[in-house]
């Protein structure tokens, strides 16, 4: 049946912590979260971990497995090297609360700072008409389960606490792109320029398209190629459009 595996799990809190070794049974077909649950039930009842759906749909159980940002519930034991210990540590970019649980409130603050969807004036509920091809671009970004692994891996903030105030991270830059590509968002009518907000308020310029965010996305969203780069291109064309520049200067 099961085989014995060694797990090295970071345990601690805001003050201090260290990797703790556990030897634990692992069965066919299990994911890392199954093994963590077995540890809770048998060896470490107070081991702190976030999880909800255990089906890759809610994005709660984000952590780093052997140094790689992943969902605990979607990482099969069979996908990890068989003869090495499995190291599980909390997401590095966010402050630790306890064990594998981190304080992700940064993300909720950033979410709140993006101007919400603006419904088109005069279009009644039930009268919204959009073509599938037009909604698909934003739909890709709305697949996001907010696991914050892209935020965690982004080097702009991963080891640079000082950038957090000025940079909303790939998840929320993608949210701006999603709204910007929404066929009926009325930002223009309200004189809100989402692209400029991305650049000026949310730090789009910090992103130098290394695509680390795309690599770790469990939903396989092409964050960089489909959200960030197109938005960067449009910002650039705004900046360097001679007519736009003239208008900007006039406005000053």
């Amino acid at each position: 049946m099961g085989t014995q595996r060694r797990f090295r799990i970071w345990r601690g809190d805001t003050n201090a912590g260290d990797l703790v070794d556990f030897d634990v049974e692992v069965n066919d077909g299990e994911v890392v979260l199954d093994v963590i649950h077995r540890l809770q039930a048998t060896q470490a009842p107070d081991l702190a971990v976030r999880w909800n759906c255990k089906a890759g749909k809610c994005g709660s159980c984000s952590a780093e497995i052997n140094g790689r940002p992943r969902l605990l519930c979607m990482t099969r034991m069979s996908a990890l090297p068989p003869h090495q210990p499995v190291t599980v540590t909390p997401m590095r970019t966010f402050p630790v609360i306890r064990d594998l649980v981190t304080d992700v409130s940064y993300n909720y603050q950033k979410a709140r700072e993006i101007r919400a969807f603006m419904p088109p004036k005069g279009v009644q509920p039930g009268e919204y008409r959009m073509q599938q091809v037009d909604v698909e671009r934003s739909q890709e970004f709305r697949k996001c389960i907010e696991c914050f692994l892209c935020q965690n891996t982004c080097h702009v903030i991963r080891d640079h606490e000082e950038n957090k105030a000025h940079f909303s991270g790939p998840r929320f830059l993608m949210r701006i792109a999603e709204l910007d590509m929404h066929p009926l968002d009325a930002a223009d009518e309200e004189s809100v320029d989402r692209k400029r907000a991305a650049q000026d308020e949310h730090g789009l310029g910090f992103c130098n398209i290394t695509k680390c965010c795309t690599e770790v996305c469990p939903e396989h969203i092409k964050i960089t190629d489909n959200a960030l780069i197109p938005m960067k291109e449009r910002v650039v064309s705004l900046r360097f459009d001679p007519l736009a520049r003239l208008l900007r200067r006039d406005r000053r």
Partner: protein, 635 residues
């Protein structure tokens, strides 16, 4: 006692899934100060796992659809035990609630003429489910979450404070409701992160806590589904109805063992998937029950023609309501015609091109690929029943969602009645929106009527609640050193799975009640290690008593109902009995029991309004109603 964090609100919403968030939006838009309290992070609620869609008779794909047809389907799905007023409100209001989501920014899949696309689902006569691929729940939760943020932005613009009128308390668990003079005065809970206590003073509480699936071993439900709202309602004197009806979704994953129970969306069948046994037979044709004869195709040829020509063919029996399909799968496996891992085969690979499968069912494709090494575009899935939904819940007034305790409201899965004995797929998300909004409205009106006469929170109740919450930390004096919450939970799940599962018998349910009584006593001796900061063992210890209480309701009501109907199937009473249709089983705490046991009483349903009964053919009503109940009396 040390100082406890305290907050004042007009309305406290417990739960941040579809019902809770829709309720909170309504309350806040009516100008009330609102708190939303959730056990998880904001945006992680169980609603996120809903896959197939939201049922609403918009008629975008088939213009023959209407609220009347939706109402009929809902009543049939629930075997006519539904609260007909709730089913009526639900069918009438669902389209408005879906369209409203688009004004919040939702992006549903579209029809060719740019409207919201609608897909077929079990028990729905026409394509009715608004959807986004197979991740509709995620779209719903994110849309409502973003609407909440948008309301907070309005408050920020006006007051300089995002949380001036609408505040989300994430990772916070409510353990007790507080009352004064019989009416709601507030709620008591703790922050999961710090373990510190928090007290809410509020004259109205809306329960939107979802279901109880974590009391069962094989379930599609997330850890949060521990029956908190059901138990909170019971403990503060409200009644639960229909608790014997549990929905076992026919298609959960069966292999590997660690993923057993994870949902496989009904959309697989709605989009053309078929069920086969080990002899490659489409067995559902053998399981069309008497009440649905005439409504479903009797040959594979007719069933296959239906996808392109639904007006001239009857629908495939794979799309029977969930209770029927789950029982059929159970029977096939029991008869030795199951798949290698104890399920049956669900095949979409021979029915649709690989690219279409990936486009329509992307999450299913990834789920099987990543968790089971199965490519669903090339081979069949193995599936079997999984505990999915509780039809039972708090007895509420259909129009206002008010429970019998003044100031208490309930919406969504935690409320009972709407779905009768079995819920149709897609009717849950619409239920959340319709009755979430109504609960918000009901609570706001209640608060207005109350004016300044708000029931005060009594300090003695707060202290008692605090004592209960920290009791698992006490040094237990028992010789065996106290009970392990994880092991107790496993025993509970095994008990419910084995003895009060998809097929039930009197002796097994009696045994379950004995075991539950033991578990309840043992749960009082649970001991947890460590301290109060983010301690999952402690959290589970507190959730356990809720799961045990609701499990007792399921078993007790199940034992009482001596018939088979919807999500309650009895080996010893296999037939549906018209004399039971109008009977509701009401669970309440037994005032004579020192240990908090529940008792069950029978109550008659209000007969269906004549105009609604008139929507059905007399011949159909005869299958469900007693002679006295039929329009025009005995015939």
């Amino acid at each position: 006692m040390t100082e406890i964090e305290q907050h004042d609100f007009d309305v406290v919403v417990i739960g941040a899934g579809g019902a809770g968030l829709r309720a909170a939006i309504e309350v806040r838009e009516l100008g009330k100060r609102t708190a939303v309290i959730c056990k998880s992070l904001f945006g992680k609620a169980h609603t996120v796992m809903a896959e197939g869609g939201i049922a609403a008779s918009m008629g975008n794909v088939n213009s023959r659809d209407s609220w009347q047809v939706h109402f009929r389907d809902t009543m049939r799905g629930g075997k006519f035990l539904n609260n007909w007023r709730m089913a009526e409100l639900h069918a009438k209001e669902a389209p408005q609630r879906v369209w409203e989501l688009e004004t919040y920014g939702a992006l549903f899949d579209r029809t060719k003429d740019g409207k919201i696309s609608q897909r077929n689902f079990g028990g729905h006569e026409y394509p009715r489910l608004a959807h986004v691929g197979d991740r509709t729940g995620l779209e719903l939760i994110r849309t409502l979450q973003q609407k909440i943020v948008s309301l907070q932005q309005e408050d920020f613009a006006q007051y300089g404070d995002y949380e001036a009128n609408l505040k989300v308390f994430a990772e916070c668990t409510i353990t007790d409701l507080l009352k004064d003079g019989g009416a709601i005065a507030g709620a008591f809970g703790y922050w999961r992160e710090t373990g510190r206590f928090v007290r809410f003073d509020a004259p109205a509480v809306i329960l939107a806590t979802g279901g109880i699936g974590k009391a069962f071993k094989v379930t599609s439900n997330s850890w949060e589904y521990t029956g908190d709202g059901h138990a909170l309602a019971l403990r503060c004197g409200a009644a639960l109805i229909n608790m014997e009806f549990m929905q076992f979704h026919p298609t959960g994953m069966v292999w590997p063992p660690s993923v057993k129970g994870i949902l496989v969306t009904e959309s697989v069948r709605g989009d053309g998937g078929v069920l086969r046994n080990s002899q490659q037979k489409r067995f559902m044709f053998d399981y069309i029950p008497e009440v649905f004869k005439g409504q479903y195709a009797t040959s594979e040829q007719e069933a296959d023609r239906w996808y392109d020509d639904p007006d001239n063919n009857r629908r495939p029996p794979e799309l029977l309501p969930r209770d029927e399909v789950a029982r059929a799968i159970n029977s096939e496996v029991k008869a030795g015609r199951g798949s290698p891992h104890g399920g049956v085969f669900l095949d979409i690979s021979t029915r649709l091109p690989a690219e279409v499968v990936k486009k329509r069912l992307p999450s299913m494709y990834h789920q099987f690929k990543e968790l089971a090494d199965v490519d669903i575009t090339a081979e069949p899935m193995e599936v079997g029943p999984t505990c999915h939904y509780v039809m039972g819940g708090v007895e509420v007034d259909p129009d206002t969602a008010a429970a019998s305790v003044p100031g208490l409201f309930a919406a969504g899965e935690v409320a009972g009645g709407m779905h009768g004995s079995n819920r149709l797929g897609g009717n849950s998300l619409s239920d959340l929106l319709v009755f979430g909004r109504r609960a918000g409205l009901g609570a706001a009106i209640y608060v207005d009527k109350l004016g300044a006469r708000r029931p005060p929170v009594r300090v003695v109740d707060v202290e008692a609640a605090a004592q209960r919450v920290i009791s698992p930390f006490r040094a237990d004096t028992d010789e065996d050193g106290g009970e392990n919450p994880y092991l107790l939970h496993q025993e509970l799940q095994q008990t419910m799975n084995d003895l009060v599962g998809i097929i039930r018998r009197a002796d097994e349910m009696e045994l379950a009640l004995k075991k539950l009584a033991q578990l309840r006593r043992r749960a009082e001796h649970v001991v947890v290690q460590g301290h109060r900061q983010f301690n999952p063992g402690w959290h589970l210890a507190l959730d356990l008593r809720n799961m045990i209480a609701v499990s007792e309701c399921v078993a007790r009501a199940g034992l009482e109902r001596t018939e088979s109907r919807g999500g309650h199937t009895r080996d010893d009473y296999p037939v549906m009995d018209a004399d039971w249709r109008h009977a509701l089983l009401v669970c309440a705490l037994d005032p004579d029991s020192v240990e908090g046991s529940v008792r069950v009483e029978r109550k008659m349903q209000i007969p269906m309004r004549a105009d609604l009964a008139g929507l059905f053919e007399l011949d159909e009503l005869k299958k469900y109603f007693t002679g006295d109940e039929l329009p025009g009396g005995t015939d």
